[in-house]
Subunit: 394 residues, 2 copies
Amino acid sequence: MDQPLAGIRVVDLTRILSGPFCTMILGDLGAEVIKIEPPDRGDHVRAQGSIVDGFSWYFAAFNRNKRSVGLDLRTEDGKALLARLIETADVLAENFRPGVLAEMGFDEARLKRLNPRLVVASVNGYGSTGPYVDRPAFDFITQAMSGFMAVNGTPESGPLRAAPPVTDLVAGLYAALGVVAALRVAERAGTGQRVEASMMNGMISMMAYLASTQLATGETPPPTGNDHPVSSPYGLFHAMDGDVAIAPSTPPVLKRFLGTIGLEDVLADPRFATNADRIRNRAALNALIDEKLAGDTQANWVARLNAAGVPSGRVQSLAEVFEDPQVLAQEMVIDVPHPGHGTVRMTGFPIKLSETPCRINRPAPDLGADTGDVLAEIGVTEAELADLKARAVI
Amino acid sequence: MDQPLAGIRVVDLTRILSGPFCTMILGDLGAEVIKIEPPDRGDHVRAQGSIVDGFSWYFAAFNRNKRSVGLDLRTEDGKALLARLIETADVLAENFRPGVLAEMGFDEARLKRLNPRLVVASVNGYGSTGPYVDRPAFDFITQAMSGFMAVNGTPESGPLRAAPPVTDLVAGLYAALGVVAALRVAERAGTGQRVEASMMNGMISMMAYLASTQLATGETPPPTGNDHPVSSPYGLFHAMDGDVAIAPSTPPVLKRFLGTIGLEDVLADPRFATNADRIRNRAALNALIDEKLAGDTQANWVARLNAAGVPSGRVQSLAEVFEDPQVLAQEMVIDVPHPGHGTVRMTGFPIKLSETPCRINRPAPDLGADTGDVLAEIGVTEAELADLKARAVI
């Protein structure tokens, strides 16, 4: 059986991270992704991240399942070829600043003329309307503007960004979902449309109950570190040889937790009788828990608590994550052969489909590796290719 | 034109957050979502988060665009009705621990017999195979286990969870995308399948270049707080009246930044000539920048820097986010009338579709509000409904 997006062709103008993450997911699901890059240097990410023998593993991870076409879109010939590719495509993806694609000669009216069924996916910082439309975007800034940083951290640390570029990735993920949804419309009604996801909007949508609290009460949630604002006990506790994260989510789970560590009687203490009492006396309760946990190892506590149905685990470094037997069993680390560059290890597929799974159909391409093939498919002759090459259009 | 998922029926057994977020997105895109709840108390979230006049705004926000059917799935009659609903559905969504659905009598073979085109979406903690399959999941724990907490925070703070339940939400988002992709297969090939997303796998996929660095070099990224590991200057700086987040992403942007704040000559200083120099002397450079920024307000710097093409913004509290003119222009705060409960404010739709937009088709339902209608649609008579009600099955 074909992959979910078999037969879908994506012309991909995206670069760096948010857009390439979107088109990578589409490629993982079986779409043909044609990555258009400046023919001289390609996507900036080719020179970023950890470079092994001249090859960026960061680029490899986010550009798997793509073909690469070198095309200078500042030239008229480059633009003409892009127009011909768009005529053959189901999806056009871009993450320029709003307005740039139109300035290049591809405004909405022209795109519609070229291909009325086209799904045009835009990933950007703040959306394509509103007072910030011209602002340059960057993950760190949208983490700050979205409200995320104000709650991430502790009262001592002040507002903190998350290390991973979460706003780029969330925006890319929403865009991919929007594209697949819009393809259903295109295939049923024959009508394309514009799909947009922004780093700011995406991150705001992730504020969950913090957003509900703000909107319902007007009370602004403070940074809470590892303490849950409305639950105690909860957090990182200290075993003999390391921390254990423990989250007893409901009263029955709390009872099992306290029973497992030998504190079954603590709820009879008036300081700890109710959740409100336990929040008020959090430090005293945490000290009692730590005293018990100090009697055994992290690994033993994690095993015993989970066996008792108490959510718990350890803080794993990325080194530990990629050796975790669960992570390996879930194939969340994969080895991808890249001809000429050895084998690249990267994270696997978080969407598991039983019948039509995500898979590596092709590794991340060398710059321009597919230029000749892709252009030949749309009718460019050998002689034309040679001429375009000589003039550095491709 | 119909919404993207018009005509798609989702039978939704999910509760709390990860699964309900998945089905909320499907509903926002136009699917009919039938939320099955225990008839006596419903989803726990009905009693959680900020309660206004007895109504949870947290529940309202994550259960918009759903119908509610009260059904006791511990009874044989309840299970028989669920089977009949499944026969009429395109999607069955659940976020039980792996194995629970089969224990309830709905293993894969039975589901396939009931409905060979059914897409079965499972959202869980660690995936449905591997050594942790029986572990109870909770956002805090999968933040710890996925490697996220180890890089979130500062050397002083130690590992920190993010305040929003990011692993729940990312898993729900991947599941929604997997469902829409699997529907394309079901509609074309007539074959259903199992779609799975886990909190652990989803979060691992968000580690981006940190994962690539770990896998390429074996070097484990430390928590970096607000300093970018490979770029300087970058971070929070101090204007007259508050912080400004600034991320000069490339050498030309850096030049524009330094020019805008009156430090154009600083790159001539050998301490700051190259990025490596600037990382080494980060504190000294940051002090020079802060000295300049102290001369004007946060708002003025943000405006001037963005006008110069330098990504910058302020750290906004959620109170500020929901009054931000950009956020309002993007309709990321919406007012939803809930008959009997007033108007609930909640976050809007991060996926923008120009022709078939996400929208509120119905507000979050009262518990069991649609039981009679939905069961009548599958042929349950008035007399049978009365009997089921009398026996507390519905």
